[in-house]
Symmetry: C2
Subunit: 411 residues, 2 copies
């Protein structure tokens, strides 16, 4: 069993062991917000036929040559075509078809005059202007031409993409799968919300924190459970929930104390232990293993340590599967404009806030203490400052490496 390995090594190990989930074939309405797993080319023209973009009269442009207020042209209305109609009658010279927005332009006609620019009397319409062929005429394929690339593999499907795919009549699309994750927070100290805290107890905030964070990464949380520091109870909850999920995330029980049971539980269950502990602060205590093909992330019970290792290790793996690149961390650099007086023997991550300024991106510490058990500091956190092992205290004005959290944490 590897111990206290670098983050990047841990990421590599997990990445090599990711479950191989197939794309999902979903109906179009359910594809909203998903990532396309296939490239889609237009199976048809849109519109499929030449149509009128407005309410008016379809006619032959050549008929209007010389037409003016002084030389009005009278055309005979030979048909009326509404949107949804088939255009049956052709338009011959001297004729016109009353036509509504979206209706097919009949054979023979090559332009449409806006009804506000005409005078009508019974079945005759008067036109006092010349028209060009193609004027107010939306040709077949004006919007989309058959065969063109509509959306490439990897596209995030939002309303415009759904609209375009719907306009092609496509009922179903292949999208990247959403990994299913079960959450088990462990600890005798955890009390349910709404219950009275007994001495020594705290509320089970990790369950809310981790479940919501999973969903923010596009995971489906299949179960959200709590277990006491009891081997049998934890074992049972793991083995019961393992078959229904692609990942299992636990919190608590992964350090060196006498009730840090997770490592031995996983060993007893026959899991392959990838590693125990990371060379990170906060976030040293973590177990990562694989049992019956499912990866288990045993995160720290300290909420900030849990969130930080979640973001550095669990988040990128979820994104690897669901394709939500916009929800991944982004490496960047920023100028540190705050105080941090500790030197860092171990690699250290600080919860921080990065903002744009006229001189580039600047970063300061989040409000709250930087201890692993402190959750408040995550409230305004939109990035992590990455301090290499062996660094002296930070100086205001120095450039630092940061991992930016996704945009959704900026609001």
């Amino acid at each position: 069993m590897k111990q206290r390995i670098p983050l990047e090594e841990a990421q590599e190990i997990v990445k090599k062991n990711l479950p191989d989930l197939s794309p999902e074939n979903v109906i179009l309405k359910e594809a909203s917000g998903r990532i396309l797993a296939e490239s889609i080319f237009a199976p048809m023209n849109q519109p499929p036929f030449a149509r009128s973009p407005l309410d008016g009269y379809a006619l032959r442009a050549e008929d209007t040559r010389g037409a003016s207020k002084d030389n009005p042209l009278k055309l005979k209305i030979v048909s009326r075509i509404f949107a949804g109609d088939r255009a049956k009658e052709p338009v011959n010279s001297g004729e016109t078809a009353r036509i509504m927005t979206g209706a097919p332009i009949p054979e023979g006609a090559d332009c449409v005059i806006r009804q506000e620019n005409t005078d009508r009397e019974n079945d005759e319409v008067t036109i006092c202007q010349e028209l060009r062929p193609g004027q107010n005429y939306a040709p077949a394929g004006e919007d989309i031409e058959k065969g063109e690339l509509l959306c490439s593999r990897g596209t995030l499907l939002r309303s415009p993409q759904l609209g375009v795919l719907a306009s092609m009549g496509l009922e179903r699309v292949e999208v990247r799968p959403l990994p299913k994750v079960a959450v088990i927070t462990t600890g005798n100290e955890l009390q349910a919300l709404g219950e009275k805290l007994e001495p020594g107890q705290i509320y089970n905030s990790n369950n809310y924190l981790i479940s919501a964070r999973l969903e923010e990464c596009g995971a489906k949380v299949t179960a959200s459970l709590v277990a006491g520091d009891n081997k049998e109870e934890i074992k049972e909850k793991i083995t019961e929930n393992l078959p229904g999920c692609d990942f299992l995330v636990t919190t608590g029980g992964v350090s060196v104390g006498e009730k840090d049971l997770l490592l031995s539980i996983l060993e007893e269950l026959g899991a392959e232990i990838f590693f125990w502990k990371l060379g990170l602060k906060p976030g040293t205590p973590i177990v990562c293993a694989k049992l019956d093909g499912t990866i288990i992330f045993g995160l720290s019970g300290n909420p900030a340590a849990a969130v930080i290792t979640f973001d550095l290790l669990v988040r990128p793996m979820l994104v690897e599967i669901n394709g939500f690149e916009h929800l991944n961390l982004k490496s960047s650099r920023a100028v540190f404009v705050d105080e941090f007086n500790k030197s860092s023997r171990t690699r250290r991550l600080l919860r921080a806030v990065v903002v744009s300024s006229p001189r580039g991106e600047i970063v300061k510490l989040s409000r709250g203490r930087q201890r692993p058990g402190v959750l408040k500091t995550t409230l305004e956190c939109n990035c992590l400052i990455d301090i290499p092992a062996g660094s002296p205290p930070l100086e205001s004005g120095q450039e630092v490496e940061i991992f930016k959290l996704p945009e959704i944490y900026n609001y």
Copy 2:
């Protein structure tokens, strides 16, 4: 009935007539992604008691004075305290308590030594270093102090907020309501996805486009229907769906053609017509009315016109109710770096793409035609260029006003 009014006047009218929806009281898990309707102050300290941040031994710092490898200190283990335990026994001079991460620090002890830095034999532990009072000691309120502001009214609740609120034991919170919206797309030409297109028909893409866009603005789509160009059918679908929704959005039937039925239907139903037509292109044809207290937006059947008026008029009204400011349009300016040769008699909105560049924000037209019936141009559109009425063609390099779409359309 007002006609062809400016956008800003239309926005004012609708804003004055918005339904007055009460905040929702939801359980914490359901509050994820919602906007807080109340400010929340900490009802308690977190942690509620002084606790150990690590696995070790709780003791009195003064006992360690002078302790070193040459002068080891031996302390008697008088109790073992796990997370979740009540700390019963006080620690007196010469004594220590075995203590695990998260466990309450017993009376008398004022620091904790990490277990890795001790030697233990039976019920005695040997310490070879001095400790400071408060060392490895997480005081009550270390994370959150009773009475402090946790989340102010208007906060978007993400996982960190849920975690913090859960740590306070708060089961329920008041959040801004999500407006319920019914969608009716109208038109004889509309065919359902997966069916064969008959001549003159197109697929009903507006339904997908508008329903998904509503959900992207945080609305709940209560119904998503289609109706032919038939007065009775449209009336029936409006009156059936009106009671269950806060807004009703239709597409089609709002221009000047013979099958543009919506305006007369609304009049016959006794609706108060706020206005018909906007001084905008695309997007001139639109009806806005109020029937039985519910606002009805009758958008154009042309998809681009529908999306543009949706974004300018419907989106801000939804945000006004649900508080999702990050989903609203933002006015900005950018340098136009493309070609657009038409002059604009009417105020014109162009679908465009804005990107940051070293010289500031630059904007170019989206791929596709700018016609109202063309949907493709919305695919990469992340902003609208706002060209005032009476403007000449745009020149590359000129500064233009833009409405930026929310960040979600940037991915």
